[in-house]
Symmetry: C2
Subunit: 379 residues, 2 copies
Amino acid sequence: MPARPIPAKFPTMKAPILTPRAAALPSTVPFTGPETLERQNGRLFKARLGANESMFGPSPRAIAAMKAAAEQVWKYGDPETHDLKTALAAHHKCSPQNIVVGEGIDALLGYLTRLMIQPGDPVVTSLGAYPTFNFHVTGYGGTLHRAPYKADHEDPDALLDLARQSRAKLLYLANPDNPMGSQHSAATITDLIANLPAETLLILDEAYIDLAPPGTEPAIPPETANVIRLRTFSKAHGMAGLRTGYAITAAPLATAFDKVRNHFAVGRIAQAGALAALLDQAYLMTIRSKAAAARARLAEIARANGLIPLPSATNFVTMDCTRDGDHARAVLRELLARDIFVRMPGVVPLDRCIRVSLGDDAALTAFAEALPLAIKAAG
Amino acid sequence: MPARPIPAKFPTMKAPILTPRAAALPSTVPFTGPETLERQNGRLFKARLGANESMFGPSPRAIAAMKAAAEQVWKYGDPETHDLKTALAAHHKCSPQNIVVGEGIDALLGYLTRLMIQPGDPVVTSLGAYPTFNFHVTGYGGTLHRAPYKADHEDPDALLDLARQSRAKLLYLANPDNPMGSQHSAATITDLIANLPAETLLILDEAYIDLAPPGTEPAIPPETANVIRLRTFSKAHGMAGLRTGYAITAAPLATAFDKVRNHFAVGRIAQAGALAALLDQAYLMTIRSKAAAARARLAEIARANGLIPLPSATNFVTMDCTRDGDHARAVLRELLARDIFVRMPGVVPLDRCIRVSLGDDAALTAFAEALPLAIKAAG
C-alpha cells in the first residue's frame, strides 16, 4: 500500500520532555573546535597550535595499522578490546583486569562520573583545570569545589583540604597539568594519595605523562583502590582524532565500567592504531626529543617578545603575557585574527597567559611571525 | 627529589563507593563479541555471520577517505561534525540543525535515554528487540514495558496500547526489525506516529532502512517533535567498526544532545569515512543488489535443510528451525562448534529461530556446509 499523506493531527507533541536535570543543563561544547573558527573566519588557520594535538603525528607503524584496519572496518571492534588491553597490561606490569579502554579520556571521565556521582555529591578539582571533567560532573548533578592554583601548579594541599572539608567522592588532578604545563613529582603525588580521605577517589589524569621529565610518574600498585589513572593516545602518541584512551585502576572499579560503558565504542581502526602505537616505544622516544626541541624554541620565541614561558612538562608552552586577562585575551584575539590557532586559560590569575601547543618548524615560524604583530595590535 | 616508597597506610580505601543505581547494575555486555568466542575456541571463525556486519565492506571511496584521514589523525575531529552534518542534511532534505552525529546508534540511544529518562519513567519496546536500548534504559533507572511480537513483526497496536497505559516517555521501534528481519510499511509507521500519546517520543531505529524494499521509509517532516529517527553507517554502508551513526529529529531535541554528548567522540577518520560513504550512493545501490542475492541464497540454504527462512528487509535472514528454543539453541551451538558465527533471538517465541547475516560466497558456502551437520548434531 502506498505511503499515505501525514494525518492532520500529526505531530501531537510540542517538544519532548527532558528530565529536570537535563532541562537545566546548557547546550554547550566544552571547547570550540578550530574548524568552527575557520568557518567563521572564512579561511584556514596557518598554524594549528591551540588544542594540544601532536603535529608530529603518530608512529608510521600506527598509520599503517590504521590503514590496514580501514580495509576490515566492516567488522565491529572487539568489545573487550582484548589485544590492546593485554598489551597495555604488559606495558604497565598489571593485569588486563586493571585496564579500561575507552573512546578517549573524555568518555572515561563521563562513565566514572556516572558511576560515582549522584546529585549533590561533592567533587574537588582545581580552579581553571580541565573543563570537560566539570561538564560531566555538572551533567550528573555533582557539586564542584575548586581549589586555586598555587604558583601555576595545582595545589595538592589545598585540594586535600577541600576534599576533607567537602567529603569529596572524587578529586581530579592532572599531572602534568593542563593548562599551565606544570608538574608535581612522583613523591608529591604519592603523598597526596597517602593522605586522601577514605571516601575520596583520586582521578589522576596523566594525559601528558609521556612528555614529562623523569621522576614525574609515581609507582602506584595497580590494585590501589583509591586511585584511577587516565592515559591517552591523543597527546604524545599523536592520535587525537582516533579517540582512544584508557584507565588503570583496581579491578573492581575497572569492572564497574562494564555497567555503563558503550561496549562497542572503541572501533576496529582505533584499537589497531592504539596497539601499534603502544608497541612502537622507539617512536615515542623520538617524539620526546622533538617535543623538547619545540618547547625550547617556543620558549625562545616567547622571551624574544617579552613574554615569560612557563616551564612545561607537556606538549605545549604556556606563556605569561605579563599583564592581566584582558591583555592576554587581546593577544589571543590578534593571533586568531592572524590565522594562528591558540587557546588560553579561562580564569584569574591563569588568564594572564596564552597556551601554545608544540608544532613543526613551519607552524612555529608562523607563530613567531605573528606574535610580535599580535602583541603590538593588542596594545 | 626521588620517588619515596609508598607509605604503609596506602591505600586507604577498600573500594570506591558507587551510586546506589550503579551498584545495582550488572557488569555486563549486551553482546558477546565473536573475538571472545574465538579466544574461547582457540581458533578463528570460518564465517562471521552473527553480528549483522556487512561482509561486502564499505565503498572504496570511503576506504580511501579513511586512509587519507589516518595521515591526519593527530588532529581532533571537528566537534560540530559540520561537513558530515551538512551532507546528511542535504541528503535528507532537512537542516543541519535536525541532525545529531554520534559514535554509533548505541551512543545516541544512551544520550537520548539520559536526556529523557528518570528513575521509574516508563519506556515501551518489543519483547525481544534491541538489547542495547534496554541496557541504557535500565542503566538510567527507567522501567521497561515490553509488547510481544505479532507474527514475527513488532506490533504497533500493542506498542501504542502499552504506551498509552504506561504513559511512556519513549517508544522504541526498529523498522526494519532486528532480530526478525521484518518490516512495516511507511503508512503503518505514519499511522503509529499520528496516534502516539502526547507525552511519548517515538525512537524509530532505521539502522537497516537502506536495505528495505521501497515503501518502507516514511516521509516524516524533520520538525516533527515526537519522532527521532536513527541511522547508521554500520550496516548497508559497511563500517560497523567505525562507530558512526546519526539521528534526525526536530531541532530542539537535536540541540539538547549538546547538553550531554561526548563532543569530540566522532573522530577524524570516522567523519571522513562516513562522509565519503554517504556521497557514494551508487555503491550503496550495488550493496542492495548483493544483499538481495545473498538473502535469496541464504533462503535457499535454509529451505534445503528444512528450515523456514523469514522474509527479510535487512542484511540478515532469520531462519525458523521449526521446533522450540532448545532446538534452535542446539543448532546454534553446533554451528558455533563448526566455526560458523551466528546469533539468535533471546525470547520465546522468536527463539525458535537462528539469525544469519549476509555474507560473501565463501562465507555462505561455509554456512551451507555446516548447517546440515549442525542440524543433525542438534538431534
